[in-house]
């Protein structure tokens, strides 16, 4: 089974990386861009295919390792299998 976890900075935390991208896009003439937020994605392939187990495992891994709950939020989904 394959899952995708999206980790992004909490809205309350400033995202200078997104700002830089926004500015770069503006410089190139993409004035229509109003805001950019940047985050990380993890695509994880699991041997396990039991949905229930996966639904317990993934948030656990995200919470412990993939995201820092002080500054980041995560969401996840199953993308395969």
């Amino acid at each position: 089974m394959k899952v995708r976890i999206l980790v992004s900075l909490k809205p309350s935390v400033l995202d200078p990386q997104g700002q830089v991208v926004k500015n770069a896009l503006h410089t190139l003439g993409y004035q229509t861009v109003k805001d950019v937020r940047q985050g990380k994605i993890f695509e994880i392939e699991l041997e396990n295919t039991d949905r229930q187990v996966v639904e317990k495992l993934v948030p656990e891994m995200a919470d412990k390792v993939l995201a820092n709950p002080i500054i980041e939020n995560f969401t996840w989904e199953i993308i395969e299998g």
Binding site: P16, Q17, N68, I70
Partner: protein, 257 residues
């Protein structure tokens, strides 16, 4: 006093810290391998700078799961002194031993330069050899040193005097420009509530000899030594062990433990 410098596979200030403690400060110092589960009876654990496990995910995120960190946590819980420098600070945050998290520097660039920090609380085991508001010239070298904590936590840190070092200018002013990485409240170093675990982004080991630009970093090491000696004195006289410095242009094989 006996110091232990933890060696993660990606540590790269481990020998620098060792050099400052043993060869400059004259203290017995040992390396503690990241897979070790024994702290060799040290009096103070130092988590040095570097990129513990590559730090591709988040600085310090993976180091917190290493065997040695389990021991460090126990050691800290028992009142042992723990100093985290740069990456060491980040690891202490990730491990929950210190509050807050590090964001990317405000200009999104790695920054290596000398900075000024002032001692905001000189009544900790890590700063007592200095004066309150004393300005220290110590280099930083990091990508993620932009201190962040939620507002409530910050208020508490201020109230409990846990902010030990703040970025400032040469005269001790907390100017925007001096706050090179954008840290909230200019935070360069914080201590835990119990007062035995300190994290700081500047590298005192890079400022422990005049020849490399500054020896202000000695204040931090001297504070620890004084504190430990006093504590040892009040328990039982611990025979001060004389250490002969082993200074060589080539570092020893650090991982060869």
């Amino acid at each position: 006093m006996k110091f232990g410098v933890v060696v993660f596979p990606g540590s790269n200030c481990d020998y620098d810290t060792f050099h400052a403690l043993q060869n400059v400060m004259g203290q017995e110092t040992v390396f503690l391998w990241h897979k070790a589960s024994d702290l060799q009876n040290v009096d103070c654990v130092v988590l040095p700078g570097g990129f513990s496990y590559g730090d591709y995910l988040r600085s310090g995120a993976i180091a917190r799961f290493s065997p040695v960190m389990a021991e460090v946590k126990k050691f800290a819980a028992g009142g042992g002194l723990v100093l985290g420098i740069c990456n060491g600070f980040q690891i202490l945050q990730e491990s929950g031993l210190l509050p807050g998290a590090m964001l990317r520097n405000k200009h999104l660039k790695f920054l290596c330069q000398p900075v000024y920090v002032k001692i905001d609380n000189s009544r900790t085991p890590f700063s007592q050899a200095g004066r309150k508001d004393q300005v220290l010239n110590i280099p930083i070298a990091h990508f993620d040193g932009n201190y962040y904590a939620p507002p409530g936590v910050l208020t508490e840190l201020e109230r409990k005097r846990q902010i030990v070092f703040r970025y400032c200018d040469e005269r001790g002013q907390l100017t925007e420009e001096a706050n090179v990485n954008g840290s909230l409240h200019h935070i360069a170093g914080v201590i835990n509530e119990q007062g035995n675990v300190l994290g700081m982004m500047p590298h005192p080991e890079r400022a422990s000899e005049k020849i490399v630009g500054s020896d202000d970093g000695q204040v931090i090491f001297q504070s620890i030594i004084d504190y430990l000696e006093k504590r040892a004195g009040s328990q039982k006289k611990k025979a001060a062990k004389k250490v002969r410095p082993v200074v060589s242009p080539l570092p020893p094989l650090i991982g060869n433990l």
